[in-house]
Assembly symmetry: C2
Homo-oligomer: 341 residues x 2
DNA sequence: ACGGCTCGTCGAAGCGCTTCGACGGCGAAG
DNA sequence: CTTCGCCGTCGAAGCGCTTCGACGAGCCGT
């Protein structure tokens, strides 16, 4: 294993000079630097991470805590994780993977062992048990999602409240008179996960503001559940013409179930979703949607963390703006359109 | 940050004694050990990972290289990743997350920096460009999946060849006379990923052995593609009664498409799948399937790696036995049954 | 009763790196 | 032409841990 003294000898300088050339913390003449870089390349040198961490007390590692529970949409988590890795690498950091099951001890262990310099946490609950620990830790962290009280923390997420609003507003503008939210699985609400509730709040507020009767229907993420809910909606709310879906896996099954009920989309019922663009686009009827930009959230989280590691102040909360893309699944409701034939 | 000298002072022993008590590499009297453990608990001591890695040249970290490409079923990858983390933690190791995009340099960097002691690689291609590097590395690795030439490597996977066979054999036993394999997306075959081809080989061989005409149909992982394929199968192979699906996301869409074509499952056509149990179970018609035990594969990979780290010899290839679970989607074909009415 | 064990513990060296203070040498300022 | 200061480089200390050799104390056998 080639080490810094080997590089130094090869380049005819002292180890400290190599170190400064690498870190840029002191000026090095262009000529010397080039000689060092050449030696590094020729010898195939990579600094020993442990030694570096020991001497500098910076491991150049972020810990990513992934949720692995039911009711979350896995591809979104995955996309998020990869964007975190990519963004971290762009800042010359690596990513340590932790799972929720490690719990608070896991965070504490990683922090104390100095394995990671900072934390990214997903799937934050409104009253998350890890929050006090995070606040007391000497290492910065960023939460994906918002707890009930974000004081003293740094949080980032899509503006789900606005996402709920935006969908309703879109439907209201088209002239719809009654809207329903098909939401996340019941266990997600039961867990007090912030984003599900925020969508529902935004949805309701916008509906109230627009004077539209509205209702919220949690739904399991299976096509069976989607079909059952579709039947129920048709039966109980015959005047329903606008649906907002916030439950990735059933966007399409729900539409198919509505069609199976004899409702045409968008002629009889309009559907908008809050979901990743891929899901909205690849559906047989492309769905009007507010996209969930997981990659942007991941990259944003890493940027915030890097700023904190540099000692910069960052906002406590960052809400990514929503973007609604109108596609084929929404149109004015039947009654608002001129009658044909 | 509390360090080993603090613990030593608190327990009234020398730092080396604490170290030996922790590692068990030298005998320590029960009394002393208890005193040390108590001090560790009271002071909240966790060894500094960098220092430990530097002194012992063991980082207690595994690197996990995740694929992030199209055509793979994300939930399976995720489940796999979590099982690796869990198994690693059981051996007091952590997991560093790398993405395919880092490529060979990523592996090299992590190996040279001594960040990780060993590697787990997923989504191995038949002619994977990383193989020479892996063979030359001084750090052990385990591949999930098999390249064309596994010599000098350690590989583990479900026995996909047998999985393909098992599905055909099940159908043959029921009396089916023609079978088709609905496979992975074309890009997966194009990439020469081993497991897709192995399923197809097993499928074909078993069909030939049983004297059944057979055909293989790659299929994109969208319900649109599934529907199109169902129509084509009905049109081009009217005598087809047995289908094997090896493409998680479309198991259910395909069945629905068949039903939409007027075929009853399993009365008119039997369907078996190679997919995780959850997918097979939660379908409206539970699907006879060979399960993909991602958690077992992940745990197995870690066990192999730990053995290699201990210097033990391990088999070059480990094939997990297949288990076919008969569910509601398979039955004897129409012609093989006594005619009703 | 004494050499030779093993058992339990200690001290010191050193892993590879960063970083601090020091120090020549050279340009600018007086 | 001298003096100050800065630039570029070096040497040494030390980060927290593991591990090797050493060593005293007790035990065995004879």
């Amino acid at each position: 294993m080639v080490k810094i003294t080997d590089v130094a000898a090869h380049a005819g300088v002292s180890p400290s000079t190599v170190s400064y050339a690498l870190s840029g913390k002191r000026p090095i003449s262009a000529e010397t630097r080039q000689r060092i870089e050449r030696s590094i390349r020729e010898l195939g040198y990579t600094p020993h991470a442990g030694a570096r961490s020991l001497a500098s007390s910076r491991a150049q590692v972020l810990a990513l805590v992934l949720p692995l529970r039911k009711g979350i949409h896995v591809p979104v988590v995955m996309q998020f994780a990869t964007s975190v890795v990519t963004a971290a690498r762009a800042h010359d950091h690596d990513v340590l993977l932790l799972t929720q099951s490690e719990g608070e001890e896991g965070l504490l262990r990683v922090a104390r062992s100095a394995m990671a310099d900072a934390f990214v946490l997903m799937d934050v609950e409104l009253e998350d048990r890890r929050l006090p620990l995070l606040r007391s830790l000497d290492r910065p962290s960023v939460l994906i999602g918002f707890p009930a009280d974000p004081t003293g923390l740094t949080c980032i997420d899509l503006d789900f409240h606005r996402a709920g609003e935006a969908c309703v507003e879109h439907l209201a503008e088209l002239g719809h008179r009654r809207v329903a939210l098909v939401g996340s699985p019941p266990e997600v609400y039961a867990r007090d996960t912030g984003f599900a509730r925020r969508v529902a709040d935004g949805f309701r507020e916008a509906a109230d503001r627009a004077g539209l009767p509205s209702s919220v229907w949690p739904c399991a993420d299976t096509s069976v559940a989607a079909r059952a809910l579709a039947e129920r909606l048709v039966r109980e709310q015959p005047d329903l013409t606008g649906i907002v879906v916030h439950n990735e896996p059933i966007v399409q099954p729900l539409i198919e179930a509505l069609v199976a009920q004899g409702l045409r989309v968008p002629q009889d019922v309009s559907v908008t979703a809050i979901c990743p663009d891929e899901i909205a686009e690849q559906a047989p009827i492309p769905v009007t949607s507010v996209s969930i930009p997981s990659a942007e959230v991941g990259a944003g989280a890493v940027e915030l963390l890097m700023a904190k590691l540099r000692g910069q102040a960052v906002p406590e909360s960052t809400l990514l703006p929503v973007r609604l893309t109108a596609r084929a699944s929404t149109a004015p409701p039947p009654t608002a359109r001129p009658a044909h034939g």
